[in-house]
Amino acid sequence: MEPIRVHEGFVYPLNRVNVDTDQIIPKQFLKRIERQGFGEFLFFNWRFDENGNIKEDFTLNQPKYKEASILVAGENFGCGSSREHAPWALQDFGFKVIIAPSFADIFYNNCFKNGILPVVLKEEEVNQLITKAEEDKYTIAVNLEDQVVTDSKNFVANFEISSYQKEMLLNGWDEIAVTLNLESKIEQFELKN
């Protein structure tokens, strides 16, 4: 897994609450057996109509968000199905950081396993980011080490993250390898139970 320390990029504002993983990647694309290649199916039913034509009115289709790598959305992002295809699709599309006032638990966990940084900011801070990114091309920097989001002017917002998850991302660790270092403890547990 690629480590994340500081990420600077364009913001894509998705001003919706309760975005579920069925929207992030619809079920018809879950049949593949690989981890790669899900980006083209991201938000498929919002980006394309029934005939596969691009829906111009869906903002992610607008040229100004083409290079966006930071998605900012409303609360409870990633609710519903546990499908890890959702973070795979976001990552493959080019998103490295997701910012929202709250996340669904399983989606939040899944992000860390794939080197995506989910950042929880206050609702008013998220709204500021959304407004600015809707107005113009908007760049922010997300610093994981210092746990702060800034722009080139005066936006500064700190965020909380567990030290364990922070370490995982900063170092790009393979969690299974970390756990297997404790194999003797797992064996002991199994013998006792």
């Binding site: 049949k31 593949r32 057996i33 199905s81 399983i106 364990y164 756990t179 403890k185």
Partner: protein, 472 residues
Amino acid sequence: MTRPKTIIEKIWEKHVVHQEEGKPDLLYIDLHLVHEVTSPQAFEGLRMHGRKVRRPDRTFATMDHNVPTKDTHIINDFISKTQMDTLQKNCEEFGIPLADIHHPDQGIVHVIGPDLGLTQPGKTIVCGDSHTSTHGAFGALAFGIGTSEVEHVLATQTLWQSKPKTLNVKVNGALGLGVTAKDLILAIIAKFGVRFGTGYVIEYTGQAIRDLSMEGRMTVCNMSIEAGARAGLISPDETTFAYLKGRRFVPEGEAYEQVVEEWKALATDEGAVYDATVEINADEIEPQVSWGTNPSMVIPINGVIPNPKDAKTAHAKEEMERALDYMGLEANQSITDVTIEHVFIGSCTNSRLSDLRKAADIIRGKKVRVGVKAIVVPGSFSVKAQAEAEGLDTVFKEAGFEWRNSGCSACLGMNDDIIPPGERCASTSNRNFEGRQGTGARTHLVSPEMAAAAALEGRFVDVRKYAEPVMN
């Protein structure tokens, strides 16, 4: 005397393998259920690193999401077939027991676990599927995980987990006649929203919960995830023990008596403190129907579709407007005026034998309304066989339902069972998200009884108007 504890704390403490300051706990997993959609990348990860499955004996696989329900032998979708073949190969390679599509144990993973007695009180159970919370009905700590976590459990039989907060959802009073476990959980989510469980494990308590059958408890726990909670559970009691007795993986004879004593000790202690508590009165709950695109957008059968003008926030207003637009409905419309083209009775929420019996009681001797396409998809091969032994298949077929083979089917339409764009389905499943049952499909979540009644009348009706409504 030790401090009174919740069942959640008791199960947790018994499963901690390793604890360290600044880290989540390393939690032992007793049972890992596997299906074809969320596992291939996990097995591939094991292969890439030369790792083995630590406990194939604590792992059990089946095929459910993709499987055809019309003719199990004909899989038209090449990609679906590849995914199923891949699971077969992976299970052979890593020595994992598999109930494939031709196996008598095949079925929806959350139906067969309890049915076989693999699901037991006090166990930690995971599966790469968010509805794993279903198994909490037995007093197990059961939750859905992503594919990376599936790989982690396969390799280590453990997961790093932060201790969850505990939430008591107390259901007072008793459900009325014709009001089911499905109506109860829909009413809970309608009242408290799709986020109130986030970060918590729910314990459902109260008289109405005690009164539920195991099937009803599974329906309630199943939809905990729709309230944001990864897990929901119910302290085990005599109803639980009676259900489990004699099932294949449950100890027999003296060993059974002994394990029941252990199970009894799991129940939440009198005076245990939860991090939060919410309450609801069962007597006030009517049969429910979802009108929108998330599982909190639900109204009683005699209610009207809400008006976005009454929304409390700008976001809520916008969300309601988009939902009405997607669903092709209008504010203030009576839900009983809404007509349907499809009925789906099935899914891990409502496809067990008792669900089918109750739906059959409504339709026996009657006919599905012309223009309505109605299907029944039993939760497992075994449920199907039992239903057929009772003649339920005949009841459904004579009424005009299609009687299918088991699988997840139209709950998420990964196989051919898809609702066409713009068409409306009364569904006993768990999610009414946009596109869930098919691109542009409009889903209304209801109980099996309500779905059966909707099939007869071609619109939503109060099932209580039918004679002799069944007790849950």
